[in-house]
């Protein structure tokens, strides 16, 4: 059997996606409480191996597309199938690889949780939906698995469902994602109306329908079908809305920081590496559909999100919240890359970011894990996720320290890390993009540049506050001891740390254009290579970033107190997350709740009132007829009875059988007869 025949490869890919579903079903249905880890890890490990085989056989080769008739409506057949191109197989490998590491990590991190079987089942379900989504060959399937990803994420965020905050968070994530799903659904409908198919290969492949469709005289023409050009923009914006919701972009980013209520391993897998990348993945898949307007919207959204999330991350104190906002910020960078036409750069950054952000979260998880143990022996209660309570963990957790160091450097984008390569790709491309356009468009690359410096500062702040400086936790918990993470947590960290360096992406640590991953995707908009940008920007970024890191070290590690005050407009603005949650609360949630209260009141008072009134009237009528029945109808019947009974009694009483009574009665009758006759004659 040769591995590179298309049928075998698609079968392998299907197996890779289906195996976690198997684990979900078996664990979900049969597992005893606390069990399920072995099956989940086994299936995801096989998935990873299969994905690696598929990836090695499909990368930079012809696209493999296998499909089967799914169902037929009228004359239209719908196909379901597998599309393995560079993007799909890369995502397959990435998702299964990171999922495998997170699974291994979870065995130690989640140890002792009473509902562990539920955790493994849900994690497997998530892996199934995510893996299926990246290899699905048509928009309908993608949409289905997209929803499933959202649902399994809902389950995992609310894993600790006894906490009110977790319940609120998963509800919020679900509702916000619903808004995006609406956008995707409208996009789907427009695309299907125009082209009559959901098939990605037909739409986007060589000589695909979307590529051959064109806009002329304000009409969107496709050879078969024509509709006003505005629908092209609407369809694009619909898909963008979906991506904005899933990838936590402004203004629908609000669910992601709250989603940190889930277990840290889940945050790492879902809210850093895979699920949030689904939005970017969708935009990359559908890239040819977007016209200039939509691309500009994507670029502006991405830039704004990157800046906003970075400013908010500056002042957060919860270790996971800082990482959450940095995720949003980095996703903004990816959106920006798509917006400027460099979706290859976006996918590159998605891949590198998946590794180093996963690593950051897992390291944070290790820290939280240890801090939790410290808290348990502490005489006072304190927030074990608050970085103000940490400090000086370097000596106690050297492996975690080094892992986090590599990840932080990658996040900042220091040379020799993977983050440097991908971030530079985006920054430089954005400057080249702006150079072709008007002066106003310079705002976008400049904002991105500022954001990358902000990133340097908040990352350094987080890192120094946790690992350097004084042991602030000792004051809170003198008995507490911090140990290195257990092996099941440590080894994934080491592997991820290796993946966060330039080694696996490029032979040249300084020049992103050498990265093999970037070459796997066509540069959509061929930008003129401006050499000066390629030298000045990285130098400028890194020089200033290193200064900023040094400054942060001065502030947070050496002196352990800062020149920054917790006052002023900017602090409040960032600390309150740009007041976006408050705005939603006041503008939307409160109104919806008011409306709901009003409708409820209407329902209770008017609708229920009417029903109750009807019931009361019926009751009154019933009482009346009951009364009538008792006293009039029954009364009549009983009256007849009583009457005949009394007549009978009267007549019976006369039959005494005593002779003299009869005589007396006869006498009375005679007398009465005489009296009546007398008086009637008198009258």
């Amino acid at each position: 059997m040769t591995l590179d025949t298309p049928v075998v490869l698609t079968d392998l890919a299907i197996a890779a996606a289906i195996l976690p579903l198997l684990s979900f079903l078996v664990t979900g249905l049969f597992a005893k409480p606390g069990k399920g880890a072995f099956l989940a890890i086994l299936t995801i490990a096989i998935s990873f191996i299969l994905s690696a085989i598929v990836f090695s056989q499909t990368w930079n080769r012809l696209d493999i597309h296998q499909q089967y008739v799914w169902f037929t409506i009228g004359n239209t057949s719908f196909y379901a199938g597998i599309l393995l191109n560079n993007l799909g197989s890369l995502m397959l490998l990435l998702v299964s690889g990171i999922a495998l590491l997170v699974h291994i990590y979870s065995t130690a991190y989640m140890k002792g949780d009473a509902y562990l079987h539920r955790y493994w089942a849900h994690l497997s379900l998530f892996c199934f939906s995510m893996l299926s989504m990246v290899i699905a060959d048509n928009l309908l399937l993608i949409y289905i698995f997209w929803e499933l990803v959202g649902f399994s994420s809902y389950l995992l965020i609310g894993f600790w469902f006894t906490r009110d905050a977790a319940v609120q968070a998963n509800k919020k994530a679900f509702i916000v994602n619903r808004i995006g799903d609406l956008g995707i659904l409208s996009g789907l409908m427009i695309v299907f109306t125009q082209f009559g198919t959901f098939d990605l290969q037909q739409l986007l492949g060589e000589n695909g329908l979307i590529i051959n469709a064109f806009v002329q005289n304000g009409e969107w023409i496709n050879g078969v079908h024509t509709m006003p050009a505005v629908w092209l923009t609407v369809a694009g914006l619909g898909f963008v809305l979906g991506a904005i919701a899933k990838s936590a972009q402004f203004p629908l980013h609000v669910w992601l920081p709250d989603a940190m209520e889930g277990p840290t391993a889940v945050s790492s897998l879902i809210h850093a590496a895979t699920m949030v990348a689904a939005g970017i993945f969708l935009l990359a898949r559908l890239f040819p559909l977007f016209n200039d307007t939509v691309l500009l919207v994507i670029a502006i959204t991405g830039t704004l999100t990157a800046l906003m999330a970075a400013t908010i991350a500056l002042v957060q104190n919860d270790i996971k919240k800082v990482l959450a906002y940095s995720t949003i910020s980095q996703l903004g960078f990816m959106m920006l890359a798509i917006g400027i036409g460099q979706y290859s750069a976006a996918i590159f950054h998605l891949t590198t970011h998946a590794f180093f952000k996963c690593l950051l979260f897992l390291s944070a998880g290790a820290v939280i894990h240890e801090m939790h143990h410290v808290k348990q022996v502490a005489p006072v209660d304190f927030d074990h996720q608050d970085i103000r309570n940490m400090g000086g963990l370097r000596k106690h957790m050297p492996v975690t320290f080094i892992a986090m160091l590599v990840a932080s450097l990658a996040l900042i984008g220091i040379p020799l890390t993977s983050g440097y390569l991908s971030k530079d790709a985006i920054l430089i491309s954005s400057f080249e993009w702006a150079a072709l356009r008007g002066s106003w468009s310079k705002i976008i690359p400049v904002t991105a540049l500022i954001t990358s410096w902000l990133t340097a500062f908040y990352t350094a702040r987080l890192f120094f506050k946790v690992f350097l400086g004084k042991n602030r936790w000792r004051i809170l918990s003198p008995e507490g001891h911090i140990h290195e993470a257990p092996p099941a947590m440590r080894y994934p960290l080491v592997i991820l740390a290796l993946c966060s360096t330039f080694l696996i992406f490029s032979v040249n640590p300084l020049l992103y254009e050498d990265a093999w991953l970037l070459r796997g995707f066509p540069a959509v908009e061929s930008l003129e290579r401006i050499n000066i940008i390629h030298t000045v920007i990285p130098a400028l970024v890194n020089l200033l970033a290193i200064l900023i890191i040094y400054f942060a070290w001065q502030q947070y590690a050496r002196r352990d107190k800062t020149i920054f005050t917790n006052r002023g407009f900017f602090y409040d603005f960032a600390f309150n997350k740009w007041y976006i949650d408050n705005l939603y609360q006041a503008a939307i949630i409160k109104r919806v709740l008011n409306l709901a209260a009003f409708v409820r009141g209407f329902d209770r008072v008017i609708v229920d009132g009417m029903v109750h009134l009807l019931a009361k009237v019926g009751q009154a009528l019933a009482t009346l007829s009951a009364w009538l029945d008792t006293y009039i109808v029954d009364g009549l019947v009983n009256g007849v009875g009583i009457l005949s009974k009394s007549i009978g009694n009267f007549a019976r009483n006369m039959q005494t059988g005593k002779l003299q009574h009869y005589l007396l009665i006869t006498l009375f009758i005679v007398i009465t007869f005489f009296i009546v006759t007398y008086f009637s004659l008198a009258i």
Binding site: G657, K658, L659, Q660, L664
Partner: protein, 101 residues
């Protein structure tokens, strides 16, 4: 001349006494006596009314006729009472109830 009304009053009183005896007494012979009283009250009325028919003496004739009828009736009645007493060992009409039920 005794007025006609006085005869009528004596007749009425006699009739009422007889009626009372018939209705209240527990002894068949006493009842029979009550009946005789009532017949004699009627006979007095006949005789009194006879003054208005002096030519044919209808009142007196009817009185004699009624006295004969009463004597016959008493004879029959007393015979019945005797037979009743032999049969029931009582002459209280209330106790003679074998025809009931």
């Amino acid at each position: 001349m005794i007025p006609f009304t006085h005869f009528m009053l004596v007749g009425a009183i006699l009739f009422c006494i007889g009626l009372y005896a018939v209705l209240t007494k527990r002894n068949a012979i006493q009842i029979l006596i009550g009946i005789e009283f009532m017949i004699n009250a009627a006979i007095i009325n006949f005789v009194a009314a006879g003054q208005y028919d002096k030519d044919r003496m209808g009142g007196q004739l009817f009185a004699l006729f009624a006295i004969v009828m009463a004597a016959a009736a008493v004879a029959v009645a007393l015979a019945i009472i005797l037979k009743v007493y032999q049969h029931y060992k009582t002459i209280d009409p209330d106790k003679i109830d074998q025809l009931r039920n």
